[in-house]
Amino acid sequence: MADDEIPSDSSTLVIIVDTNPNQRYITEDPKILTGCLDAVIAFANSHLMQKSRNELAVIGCHFHKSEYLYPSPGKPLDVRQIDGQYELFTLVEKTVKMRLVNLIKSQPQEEKPGESLLAGALAMGLCFISKVRREASPALKISSRILIVTGSSDTAAQYINYMNVFFTAQKQQVLIDVCSLDKHLSLLQQGCDITGGLYLKVPTLEGLLQYLLWVFLPEGSERKQLVLPGRGRVDYRAACFCHRELLTIGYVCSVCLSVFCKFSPICTTCHTVFKIGGPLPIKPKKKKMKV
């Protein structure tokens, strides 16, 4: 939803790569991660190739933390050209691979892998974008977007975090694109819909690079000109704040709009006490609201 008509001078892309080892495609064949990573890196480099002032960040998202894979904090690696590849592209590839190894090595051994911290990684991406915007000269038109490449399923546990990030992104005019490698992700699809980004579930992991280049490489202003997969129907179910379950009908706090699956006399989010007029059993009918 950025300023669509005018092509931008520079575009910022943040790629969030889910590296959680309990994704199904990785547990089936761990080597496939390398292939996916290569596709993502080639895609990242194609983004840098578009314009000389394009910015890039790659964030690795693991189950214990998220970390920048590129640009590396501190001094950039000293990379020399080894073949005909553009030096900057070599730097991206080397940095991402090296830092990803460090990230995976740093994972706690004793813990069982949990859920990927995608919402946190998204927040990091937004921070990076606002930093780029702050540092750029005000005359420069910058369009920004975040691409999530993930094979894990989205659980409602991070529902609130997701929504906060999505609406922040909407306000900041940042598109959120999602490329799902495995399952249908209804929550993240909502994010795409809210921010005006694209959602794609790739049918097969072979040719991942082609999917990425075709669908996700054009920036916001260019997407109008191209024929791209449509939005489709979006599942807008919300998760309740008490048990993190998706519901179609529930209770909504009239003060803070928190969603609950069961009635409680005190809102757990804003501590509002609801006056109970009349006997309790008939409550459910009165307070029923569609979400």
Partner: protein, 475 residues
């Protein structure tokens, strides 16, 4: 009656305007064979790719991994109906630069196929493979590495040397015969008729008012044109230039493996400040920001400027101009269109007068160029002051801006229209009839009843002639 002396409206605004082509236009004017040769260099492919329109870039990316021709109808279907115009433009650009060419597909339909060398080398640049651009991986760390601030200062100093020479400042020791030859070739300077010394031309003055990135690019374009005479292949030079523009600022690169010709070229670039070398035989060089900005000459793309040297010009609404500068170049530039009054160690005071501005106009400088120059270099203080409550887009006082424009339009009091003269009418009546007819048609430019002369516009000539034939026959 006879109609005679067709006025030819030649371009009477004969002051040549300086052409600054971007890479796309430069390549377009070259033969396709030359282009094919160029696409053997991954650097050029990368540069050409970035110069293309957005849609064209996506076409290439989508075709990059396709080996056989793709039907034109398929390519067209990638774009929404409402943007057919952009699509045509993109296809045209790709054909113009021989990035792709038509190839029939088995069914007989017309298809597009990317040029083999372009595809191969763009893939190399993007994904790796092939040979490295320079032999830099064997380079040992430089004991006396230079940082970015040093390189910026060096580049600026070298480039200003060239500009200084052009305005005829006294510092002429820093410039070689080669650079002078290029300036002469480019028509930016010319040999003085009397003593053979180089003097600046009108185009040269316009050149001085361009932004640095544009100046460098224009200069290099002329350099490449003269390159052949020096036994340098211009394709090779262009590839090397773009290799420089895709390098990292503040990093050293090895000269090993470079041909003798390229080493000569490197020395020239060193002279203009595009690369820094400690010694001629140092075996390594540092590209500077001037070289990196070659890819940013297109309009609207702001170059990657260093933390800008701050503006130094204050213009007041009473046409006074203060330039806080010590550089003789900047003073000379101001002198192009102002009458300088006082000179202090760090300040020059001048006044913008009708005469001084007209002097500049005669030199082929346009009002727009002057205003742009003043805006670009205006002192930070100027940005703060509000111009008497009037919000204008410019930081300059509106009176000054308007007056400079008026002075320019003052020179353009003539408007030229093509026309045909009708004279030697036999009777006054004939003249009046034809004049009134022409007037009614709205094609009469001028008439004089006493001399029985009238001028009809070019487009109206046929019509009036026909009318005259009919009229003279009937009477």
């Amino acid at each position: 009656m006879s109609e005679s002396s067709k006025f030819k409206s030649s371009n009477l605004n004969a002051t040549p305007t300086l052409q600054c082509k971007d890479l796309h236009e430069y390549l377009k004017s070259r033969s396709s064979q030359f282009l094919e040769n160029l696409y053997n260099y991954p650097t050029i492919c990368l540069a050409v790719y970035r110069e293309l329109p957005e849609l064209a870039r996506h076409f290439i990316i989508r075709l990059l991994f396709v080996e056989q021709p793709v039907p034109q109808a398929v390519v067209a279907s990638w774009v929404t109906q409402t943007h057919a115009k952009e699509q045509n433009k993109a296809c045209e650009a790709l054909s113009e630069l021989s990035v792709w060419h038509e190839a029939p597909i088995p069914g007989g339909l017309p298809g597009w196929l990317l040029a083999q060398s372009f595809k191969k080398n763009l893939k190399v640049a993007l994904l790796g493979g092939g040979r490295p651009w320079s032999m830099s991986q064997t380079l040992e760390p430089d004991g006396k590495a230079r940082d970015i601030t040093f390189l910026d200062a060096y580049a600026l100093e070298r480039w200003e040397c060239v500009l200084h020479y052009m305005v005829g400042s006294q510092q002429t020791e820093g410039i070689s015969a080669d650079a002078v030859r290029i300036l002469l070739h480019a028509g930016l300077m010319t040999r003085d008729a009397e003593d053979g010394s180089a003097v600046i031309t009108k185009a040269g003055f316009q050149f001085l008012l361009l932004s640095t990135a544009k100046q460098v690019w224009l200069f290099l374009q002329h350099y490449l044109q003269t390159a052949e005479k020096r036994n340098l292949s211009s394709a090779e030079c262009l590839a090397f230039l773009y290799q420089l523009s895709f390098s990292t600022l503040g990093k050293d690169y090895s000269t090993e493996g470079m041909s003798n010709n390229m080493l000569v070229f490197l020395q020239h670039l060193r002279e203009f400040g595009l690369v820094y070398q400690r010694k001629r035989k140092a075996g390594r060089f540092y590209p500077t920001r001037l070289a990196l900005n070659i890819t940013c000459v297109r309009d609207g793309v702001a170059p990657l400027e260093a933390k800008r040297t701050q503006g130094y010009i204050v213009v007041e609404s009473n046409y006074r101009l203060y330039g806080y500068t010590q550089s003789t170049l900047q003073v000379a530039l101001l002198g192009l269109f102002t009458e300088l009054m006082y000179r202090f160690p760090n300040l020059v005071v001048g006044v913008i007068t009708r005469e001084s501005v007209r002097q500049a106009f005669r030199g082929g400088i346009s009002a727009e160029q002057i205003i742009k120059f003043l805006e670009q270099h205006s002192h930070p203080q100027m940005l703060k002051t509000e111009s008497g409550g009037i919000r204008t887009t410019s930081v300059l006082p509106p009176t000054v801006v308007d007056q400079i424009r008026l002075w320019e339009s003052e020179r353009n009091r003539f408007t030229y229209t093509e026309g045909v003269v009708y004279n030697q009418f036999l009777s006054q009546a004939d003249f009046v009839v034809l004049r009134d007819y022409a007037r009614a048609q709205g094609v009469l430019s001028w008439q004089n009843e006493r001399t029985r002369t009238m001028v009809v516009t070019r487009s109206g000539h046929d019509d009036v002639k026909k009318f005259w034939k009919r009229y003279s026959k009937s009477s």
